[in-house]
Amino acid sequence: MNTLININNLFLSIIPAEITGLPKMAMIALIYLGIFAVLGLYLVLLERKVAAWFQLRLGPNRVGYHGLLQTMADALKLVSKELTGTVKADKFLYNLAPYFVIITSLMALGIFPFTQKLQAYDLNIGLFFLIAISSIGVIGILLGGWSSNNKFSLIGAMRSGVQTISYELSVGLSLLTMVLLTQSLQLSEIVEVQKNGWLIVQGHIPAIIAFMVFMIAGTAETNRAPFDMVEAESELGAGFHTEYSGMKFAYFFLAEFINMFIIAAIATTVFFGGWLSPFGVTESIPWLGVFWFLAKTFILVFLMMWFRWTFPRLRVDQLLTLEWKYLLPINLVNIVIMAVIVWLNLSIQF
């Protein structure tokens, strides 16, 4: 918690002033890089622990107290591993792909309001930026799969393209439903609006539907089970990253977990009031916002893990059926309902 306060203080001094100096920007970038790495590693650990508990196992418990340092050890191993690749791979694209994936997820992390003050950049088109950024990541996956010169990778990459392009729509539309209510794309303002009640309460029925659609589509966006067509280890071995090893593989791996965090963070910000405490119980202590933000986000992350360790995987055509025949029509109808609610002022306000 101490470090968080320090970061908080740091930002309190930085944010209000216009950020013009490069050193300051570099510093923010470094801090976010640190958060990124630690977050990624501990999300991996969390996933492994949660998976173990679902599966009657113990999970990693050898390195550190209850395995807390396990992923650190894994990361060290990955860093020191030899980078292998296929001879016939397109070397330039092959090396470029992991950076595409990791940079996009890092960029998305930058605009979340962790508290009222702790936010690197408060873009006025924040939500739009998030949707745009999250679809760039797929280019990395496509490149990686295509340039590896491996048929399994190629199939995985093509599946990923199909999947992300389709589910982009649902993610966008379900967020748009909520924008009708907030009338702003700026993340800080979206949270501000929710001081009169979280949007999932304000928007009641259409908001709940939008939330469900968003969670389904978001899981698909991150290529996690039950939508892990891209990796589908029982079908494609390891899918698009079959030929990657060492640190480059780790980039893909980390990005997947960070993306999961981002999807959960968007849901928290848009549906569950971001850093706002429930019923404003800790309104007097602003820095507790970080706690509330992370708590809500991790509950949603846990939900996504729960999905992953329970459901079988869909087939690639059923994935598209789900999107185009179910999620999209529901979403469109939902937007109309939401518009009617906003028009007739039927939203619940406290």
């Binding site: 998976a51 679902f54 599966q55 009657l56 196992r57 048929k151 399994f152 199939i155 089970a225 039950p226 892990d228 589908a232 280890e233 029982s234 079908e235 494609l236 071995g237 360790w309 329970t310 459901f311 079988p312 995987r313 869909l314 087939r315 690639v316 055509d317 059923q318």
Partner: protein, 373 residues
């Protein structure tokens, strides 16, 4: 541009893909050469023999007692049933009168083997369609059976508990108690299996209508076991040619008519229930008596041919022994269920997607050492 030119420019090309021998879904060392157009499978050609040990040739040099332990290594998930097949064949040839106690114990162990094999299959089936958790639940229940085997037979997989003439040892004093414990435990777990996987809408979408096999094809491709029965082909050896104590138990042959992957799945779940019912009928009435009849140290079968079929967890296993009257068999042939079941894979997988192939292969439930004897 005319339509023809456009079509020409975007002409799709078929390509080959190697599935296995180290692929997660091929369960061991099976290699499938797939011809694929996009995601659609055009042809499946199995490439076998990675772990062929020529058990049939080895049998020609072994005595009849020694053959038994080699069959453990064929279909290692139903090793007890394999052992029994050889023993029954030899006993029939010698016209030995087998004690009732042996018959009942053999049947109980058969059905336990079947449940344990199906448990493993269920776990792996879930894993193949992407639900990784099923694997651990399946193995948890299988572990209890393996403990029963270990306590009574001395090994978990390669039990070699049968010998021509009976059993190697009498059952362990704890056997009955442990089996009852397991049955009580497992009866609560199958409904859980159903809630977790069978009813799941994604799972049903993945398996219903996938890998369709008609009854006529099932028969002419020599399908047996749950694969044949899911197509409505009544092929349970236990019903049609009962052996050991199966003539005195009352059980239903698990049948389905759809012939798709989901039907094969349901048949196996149904078989677990039937196996439980068979065990329950026998476990309290194990007759007293000897656990083996003495045989000569050197068994010589009379000149002739002997065929014995039994129902393993995967289907019909045939043991065909040709004897010329010496202490070694002249020729032993094992008709393995896996080879016939695998031969129809090309027939039912063509036209599906890669995901369908994986689901279909999981429901055919192949064990590679059984194919590569």
């Amino acid at each position: 541009m005319s339509t023809a030119t456009i079509n020409n420019n975007f002409k799709s090309e078929e390509y080959f893909i190697n599935m296995g021998p180290q692929h997660p879904a091929t369960h061991g060392v099976l290699r499938l050469l797939l011809t694929i157009d996009g995601e659609i499978i055009k042809k499946v050609e199995p490439d076998l023999g990675y772990i062929h040990r020529s058990i049939e040739k080895m049998c020609e040099k072994d005595s009849y007692q020694q053959i038994v332990h080699l069959t453990d290594r064929m279909d290692y998930l139903s090793s007890h049933i394999n052992n029994e097949a050889v023993c029954l064949c030899v006993e029939n040839a010698l016209q030995l009168e087998i004690p009732e106690r042996v018959k009942v114990i053999r049947t109980i162990l058969d059905e336990l083997t079947r449940i344990s094999s199906h448990c493993l299959w269920w776990g792996v089936m879930g894993m193949d369609v992407g639900a990784l958790t099923t694997y651990f639940y399946g193995f948890r229940d299988r572990e209890m059976i393996n403990d029963i085997f270990e306590e009574t037979c001395g090994a978990r997989l390669t039990m070699n508990y049968n010998i021509p003439g009976g059993l190697m040892q009498d059952i362990h004093p704890n056997f009955v108690k442990r089996v009852k414990e397991f049955i009580a435990h497992f009866k609560t777990k199958i409904p859980e299996y159903n809630r977790l996987l069978t009813g799941n809408v994604i799972f049903q979408k993945r398996t219903i209508g996938v890998g369709l096999l008609t009854k006529e094809d099932a028969i002419s491709y020599g399908a047996s076991g749950p694969v044949g029965r899911a197509s409505g082909y009544s092929c349970d050896v236990r019903k049609h040619h009962p052996y050991s104590a199966l003539d005195r138990v009352d059980f239903k042959e698990a049948l389905a008519t759809e012939g798709d992957s989901f039907a094969r799945y349901r048949v196996r779940i149904q078989e677990m229930w039937e196996s439980i019912s068979i065990i329950e009928q026998l476990i309290d009435n194990i007759p007293e008596g000897d656990f083996k009849v003495p045989t000569n140290a050197v068994i010589k079968l009379p000149k002739g041919e002997y065929y014995q079929k039994v129902e393993t967890a995967r289907g019909e296993l045939g043991v065909y022994i040709i004897s010329t009257g010496t202490k070694n068999p002249y020729r032993v042939k094992f008709r393995s269920p896996g080879l016939s079941n695998l031969s129809l894979l090309n027939h039912i997988a063509v036209g599906g997607k890669i995901g369908d192939l994986v689901a279909t292969m999981a429901t055919i439930d192949i064990v590679v050492p059984d194919i590569d004897r």
